[in-house]
Symmetry: C2
Subunit: 588 residues, 2 copies
Amino acid sequence: MKERIETFKRRLEAAAGKRKADLLLMNVRLVDVYTEEIRPASIAVYDGRIVAIDPAPGTEAERVIDGGGMYAVPGFMDAHVHVETTLLTPEALAEVIVPWGTTTLMVDAMEIANVAGEEGLLAMVEGAEKLPFRMFLEIPSRVPTAPGLETTGGVLGPKEVRSLLERNESVSLGELDPSKVLDLKDEYLEKILTALDNGKICNGHAIGLGPLELNMYASAHLTDDHECVTFEELRDRLRTGISVFIREGSSERNAKRLLAGVAEHRLPTENLMFCTDDKHVQDIAAEGHIGYNVKLAVEAGIDPVKAIRMATLNTAKHFRMEEHLGSLTPGRLADILLLPDLKEMRPAMVIKDGMVVAENGRAVPVPAKDYPARLFDTVHVSETISEESFTVTSEGKRARCRVIDLIPDQIINNAAEAWFDVCGGKIAADPARDLLKLSVVERYGKNGRVSTAFVRGFRLERGALAASVSHDHHNIVVVGTNERDMLLAVRELQRLHGGFAAAADGEIKASVALPLAGLMSPEPAATVMAQMETANAAVRALGCPMSAPFMTLSFISLPTVPELGLTDVGLIDVLAHTTCPLVLETEE
Amino acid sequence: MKERIETFKRRLEAAAGKRKADLLLMNVRLVDVYTEEIRPASIAVYDGRIVAIDPAPGTEAERVIDGGGMYAVPGFMDAHVHVETTLLTPEALAEVIVPWGTTTLMVDAMEIANVAGEEGLLAMVEGAEKLPFRMFLEIPSRVPTAPGLETTGGVLGPKEVRSLLERNESVSLGELDPSKVLDLKDEYLEKILTALDNGKICNGHAIGLGPLELNMYASAHLTDDHECVTFEELRDRLRTGISVFIREGSSERNAKRLLAGVAEHRLPTENLMFCTDDKHVQDIAAEGHIGYNVKLAVEAGIDPVKAIRMATLNTAKHFRMEEHLGSLTPGRLADILLLPDLKEMRPAMVIKDGMVVAENGRAVPVPAKDYPARLFDTVHVSETISEESFTVTSEGKRARCRVIDLIPDQIINNAAEAWFDVCGGKIAADPARDLLKLSVVERYGKNGRVSTAFVRGFRLERGALAASVSHDHHNIVVVGTNERDMLLAVRELQRLHGGFAAAADGEIKASVALPLAGLMSPEPAATVMAQMETANAAVRALGCPMSAPFMTLSFISLPTVPELGLTDVGLIDVLAHTTCPLVLETEE
């Protein structure tokens, strides 16, 4: 404490002008999110924090930057993001998001937690102070997502969640889907009470809920929702005291519609903020990150200062960090963007902790980080796996089977059915009818299970695709026209310690190594983007017309997204929360 | 935890309409502080919390209230109040404030803490759940206010403050005056860091600070100020990220001026809230409590919903209690006012925890509470005190002495001087020139010290007044024309265990017993008001023209309000933070 007090004192001395500042940012137009004014100002920074607005004339500083009359705004904050789905480490992601002005992420790292539990989660934020953006943790509330219906590498029970919520990096209990609450499950109610006990909020995920269900959801102290699609949904949530994170991700593009409604109905914006949830690197590179949401808000007719406030102060307040973030005022961390205009929201300079971390669209290089060796060794496919592991057996000559029928561009699917020929007691894939085999291979060395079902929609003419990214359990999921290529693709992922692989005709056609927890690459963003393009091209050559086949593959096995899921435990009837038989009927 | 989960479940079942509600409030116009809409609604309550807005038709309830189309608004919150200065216990105060719609007080109980430390503080909130309003604690940051310059009954050092901040009832570190921070005092910086460590905010008291000093004040993480007098001060605070509690007390009447500025400049109101700080019972009874601030806001031209929001949601957010208070939404405590109109802000019905606690200006009777016996025994004047104790000695024939020169209606004073005759080595009071003796008698049985000085302004022609309420140390302060009556008045306070007393001509003329910590009466509000009127009349009969002589007396000895103070340690030169001699010069 003594040392902290001395540090505190030095900062206050700098605030009083009795100690040289580290940085003096002169000649900016300060966007004040408290008064909603824009006014000429200068900003003094010491030890990573703003210590004075318009310090006394003659204030000295180690470094002086002339803002050239640009707008100074607080660094943008993403209220809810799954970093792992970018396939990049935070270090690599920095290069992509920081030049766009995002300096704080509220990270729900449920993917790595499902693979590697508490250790994985903490490895994400360990040493994060060296990053050019900040990460705070929304502690995953459902690891696993479907207890009993899937095998995961990590488990976060009430005890683990409690210990994580007590940590300084944690800001909330991570998104809790409706069934956990509406079905009154003890484990999740306990986690909610624990979050409240620790003074932390509970993030929601109120997909599709109407006003009556929202009464129950809000009663459970879930404080926000990032799944709104319509303005009416957004308003219903505000009316029940639930804040809304307006999401603009890669597949979920909700911002324009929601913001148009907010502008049209002149709704107060204080309880609205922004998130990306899941946004692919190429989309970020092309259009921006949270700044893009802000830009859309301004285009929708919302006052620019209020739009900026949605991306800054509102988020900081929501997560109870107003004394540290969200405004350009003394005491706050010195995360400052200089914007040439308030239309494009594209910073010419990005400052974090009082240091320039990006200029004119380019990030200052980020040092690589050593992750624990164990996290590079999370793919443990059973030794005994063979082509036979993907066999579907049946009696009779013909069999009526369930089929997971994909809906283009959506993660939900239809529970369809089809008749198959049975040959020697086995059922093969039927590429001619686009009826492929889909298998999930347990990859944590816990039980070696393999489950197989049928899927329609990939349109592979030959070969197989495998992924160790498969929400939320992240076992290996593999789709194929034949068992040989399926096995080959799985073995390739074993060799790479995770990633994506395409095999055909007995050879590997392309692969992307994601050895960090089987989810992320240690390579820079540009490398990973290039690898993905190559792999996608290889998949298209096998007949699959999807733009992002591995992404589709990675969401297909979810045991919580209707109607059918597939896990190592078996085929899942999602709405019934139970396994269901693949073969429904046989004929002689 | 098991039991808490079961309780939680029952509430969620009620939210789902699967369990009978306790209360169904039908047919109200709900004032929605999130969307700023006013819309017809019904509200279901279970186990003290709102569980549904517009529950499903057919929802059953133990009790149904027809709101008759009245406005339903959240219970009003006072962001900063010293309960003890009302002279009433919280139980007695309830009768006065609850009918006006105040259902939550953020209490800085620094008075009782100065008398009885942690024990006194906790006695205030012990059993508070039976009150018709809620109390949360702003943990006093300065007990004593002037260490080394005064003797107090209680001391709250960093250790005590830490343990208090860890409690659920505590919401902040209580108001810290500028000098503690601007002078970089370790003890207070440690208390601030401790509050932040506990996720609590730090209340400010930025009296008179300009922009440059505010940089330092905000850098110290002080998050609010209730001392603004001008609109420019208010705006300066918002510009440095400091929220403003707009105060309307008895002597400090800041609301009209501040609100006029806010309305004129169309300033955002999200970081503005309301407090009373110190408001006398008779003023509350005459004009109202926090609802009066709301009324003034509407009169100033602020939208009524925003004005209500300032008294509710803004305060709840500021103190990080949004999930429990500040809005009429599910999950929140059922503190609801029914208002016939949005102009007078005078509730026809007040509901707290889902129960009617006041109707048509009358509170439901509040059960008396047993305070610890020790708190009724806090006045321990030394046995050896005598008329001689008030003697001022001097050499020579004449002496030039310092005089505390009162300024009418202000708590600051001028450091004046006057020549006195010395008779037998002693100096007597000189009522003809309005130069009276003022003494402070240590009353905690710690050292028995008595200090004496001279004061001008009371205009007593005879007799003496004594008070055991004397900020912030609350020793006995006595003013008089002669030592005999001074001693008599002090002895009367000893007999009463504290209070106010007037003596003249060797007898007690009037007294008010305040035996709870020597600060508060256990009697109902009406009784105390009547006693005070009688006592004030008795004082006027002694020649003193003041409207509230005991209030003046109780602020006179403050060692922190310029220019002179008087404590048991001696005469205090406030600006120099030190004692100073009473006699400046003598003549033979």
